[in-house]
């Protein structure tokens, strides 16, 4: 039991990102409102950003800003890894762009059907096909 607790304590970041990811996935699958689905998608993407950033952390180490000229030899082990943060800047841009495209498409859907509820839209489509 104690081992499990220490394991969870040491790796809680992974558990948190999986929980967030599942919340996002749940919203995308279960919710019928398109905007709620888009919010779910955003949570899903953010969970992966958190995962990346959390992997960069090293206990007790500092931010990777080195004074110039350096007073002593720079050792990479003394600093947290900056690369995941940089990668995630790109991923944030991608997720913002995805959000933008998704909201634009949702607006087009709303203009056409007058609703964002998927059930209503499907009913609308079915009655259109019935005609």
């Amino acid at each position: 039991m104690e081992q499990i607790i220490t394991a969870i304590g040491a790796k809680y970041n992974y558990i948190m990102y999986v929980i967030l990811m599942m919340i996002g996935l749940y919203a995308m699958i279960v919710k019928s409102n398109l905007v709620k689905k888009i919010i779910g998608m955003s949570i899903f993407q953010t969970s992966i950003i958190l995962f990346y950033v959390s992997t960069a952390y090293k206990t007790g180490k500092t931010i990777p800003i080195v004074p110039y000229p350096a007073h002593e030899a720079v050792r990479a082990a003394d600093y947290i890894n900056p690369l995941p943060h940089v990668l995630m800047l790109t991923a944030i841009v991608v997720s913002v762009a995805t959000l933008g495209v998704a909201l634009a498409l949702a607006m087009k859907v709303y203009r056409q059907y007058g609703t964002l509820e998927e059930d209503d839209i499907n009913e609308n489509l079915r009655s259109e096909e019935g005609k």
């Binding site: 996935l25 995308m28 398109l34 689905k37 998608m41 899903f44 993407q45 992966i48 995962f51 990346y52 992997t55 995941p84 990668l87 790109t90 991923a91 991608v94 762009a97 995805t98 495209v101 998704a102 634009a104 498409l105 949702a106 087009k108 859907v109 056409q112 839209i121 489509l125």
Partner: protein, 508 residues
């Protein structure tokens, strides 16, 4: 000059896309020539790169000169163009150029006020795909994947009234796929500390990494992401609606390229990141994936049989073809992988041919349901001839290219002892024959007045008159149809000079 082409291939279209959207405010008429010039440049440089690769071996381009290695780790992004990526680059750019010419009339008609937007998205989409093919960096692949995907969603969303909803559903599923891939890359980075593909392959070949569960999890989640993106059978739900509700101008670009480039990405990640020894040896999952693709082939073919409109039917054929390529690759032997790689090229050409012909038909008839196809042979003889060539290629009749890649796939299946896959291929060919001969029957033997009242003779005669598609559509269509036969005739050369060199030596 030649050594800088891999970078220019992506940079030039990226900047042209910007200028096209700026020019659309000043003079919309300039958009088409600019787009044409840009994609023409991309095609010319892809051919140049292919020649260079065949003559002097793979090219490695280090972005900004950041290739200096500290210890053993390359820093910065590299573009690697080898025997596998060079032919795919030519295919991507050639398909984009032919479709641009063929669809220009359609674009004028459907998007007269949004031409600038359409052409900008068109160039960006092609840029994304070229980047996916050229890149040698696992994270860069994700970014380019999303560039291609986001522009793809927008291109689909511009289509029919129902398109935005289909596109939004595609966006949800596509985002999950890309995010899974990103997550897999994250785990690879944790395990190895590198993002460069060649470097990753070196790490994974080491025993401590090839036995690690982190790497295995990374493989599974990367593959799941790519399978979602390519629409492999249980994950194909987004594909039919997205492609059939899009405007024919966009679907003739998206359908031949998106799935094929995703399969290329899968082959790249399997062979050059995870290494063949790991994928086919250490992991015991290739057999299961072949069975999944057998299911994809069977279900895709059967679903195609139940459709009542041309574009819907073609999208289900695309799903079955994805099964061909994934299954052939995971057979894990040289013949299967050769067939799978060859089929990427052939299937892009076949799908383009069928979608262009279907686009030309809908351009004239305004509908793609089978009932509109009655007597279409008399009205559009040239379009239907090209359609017939495309259909014969999909069925796999000898002089066309479809036969040869199927032949390699079947030999691969027999060599691997996987008779379920062989049976699925033959079954699918038979179903395709039924599918297309049903269309030929409607198009050739049924006259348009059949079910309608017969006393409107004037009306009847008007429907029999030839209303062929415009020349700008016919010429590219004919080029594609001829290329299907040319690809078939030159299969031997393509396989010996390019594809055999593309497959790593360890695979027997």
């Amino acid at each position: 000059m030649v050594q800088h082409l891999p970078a220019l291939l992506v940079v030039v279209p990226l900047l042209t896309a910007l200028s096209v959207s700026a020019f659309s405010w000043l003079s919309p008429r300039l958009c088409l020539p600019l787009t044409f010039g840009c994609i023409g440049f991309a095609l010319a440089s892809s051919i140049g790169i292919l020649m260079e690769v065949i003559a002097n071996g793979p090219m490695v381009y280090t972005m900004g000169g950041w290739g200096v290695t500290i210890g053993s780790e390359p820093i910065g992004i590299v573009y690697v163009i080898d025997y596998l990526s060079a032919p795919i680059l030519v295919v991507v750019t050639a398909v984009a150029l032919l479709n641009l010419v063929a669809s220009s009339k359609q674009i004028d008609r459907d998007f007269s006020d949004k031409k600038g937007t359409f052409y900008t998205l068109y160039i960006l989409f092609v840029t994304g795909l070229m980047g996916i093919v050229a890149t040698g960096d696992a994270f860069n692949l994700y970014v380019l994947l999303e560039i291609a995907a986001l522009t793809g969603y927008a291109l689909i969303g511009l289509g029919q009234p129902r398109a935005p909803l289909s596109s939004l559903n595609y966006l949800f599923i596509g985002t999950i796929g890309a995010s899974f891939y990103l997550l897999g890359v994250g785990y690879l980075y944790i395990a190895t500390g590198s993002l460069n593909m060649a470097d990753l392959a070196r790490f994974i070949a080491m025993p401590e990494h090839s036995s690690s569960t982190i790497v295995m999890f990374a493989f599974i989640i990367c593959m799941t992401g790519l399978f979602i993106k390519m629409g492999l059978f249980p994950l194909h739900g987004w594909l039919p609606n997205a492609y059939s509700h899009a405007s024919p101008a966009s679907s003739a670009l998206l359908a031949p390229l998106t799935t094929k480039v995703m399969i290329y990405a899968m082959i790249r990640v399997c062979l050059f990141v995870f290494t063949p020894a790991y994928v086919f040896g250490t992991l015991k999952i290739s057999n299961a994936i072949v069975w999944i693709s057998v299911a994809a082939i069977v279900v895709g073919s059967l679903m195609a049989l139940t459709q009542k409109s041309l574009f819907k039917m073609l999208t289900y054929i695309v799903i079955a073809e994805v099964g061909y390529m994934v299954g052939g690759f995971f057979l894990g032997n040289r013949m299967g992988i050769t067939g799978s790689t060859l089929h990427i090229i052939n299937d892009a050409a076949m799908t383009l041919c069928l979608f262009l012909a279907a686009g030309a038909i809908t351009y004239r008839t305004k509908s793609d349901s089978f009932s509109e196809l009655k007597g279409i042979f008399k009205r559009m003889p040239y379009t239907m001839t090209a359609f017939t060539v495309g259909a014969l290629a999909v069925i796999g009749i000898p002089p066309t290219c479809g036969f040869f890649s199927k032949w390699y796939l079947i030999i691969g299946g027999i060599n691997a002892g996987h008779y379920g896959f062989v049976a699925a291929l033959i079954f699918s060919s038979l179903v395709n024959a039924v599918l297309f001969f049903r269309i030929f029957e409607i198009a050739y033997f049924q006259s348009p007045g059949d079910s309608k009242d017969h006393h409107h003779h004037g009306h009847h005669r008007r429907k029999d008159k030839m209303v062929e598609a415009p020349l700008s559509m016919l010429v590219p269509l004919m080029i594609v149809a001829l290329s299907l036969i040319a690809l078939g005739i030159y299969t031997g050369d393509i396989v010996t000079h390019v594809i055999q060199a593309a497959i790593p030596g360890g695979i027997s």
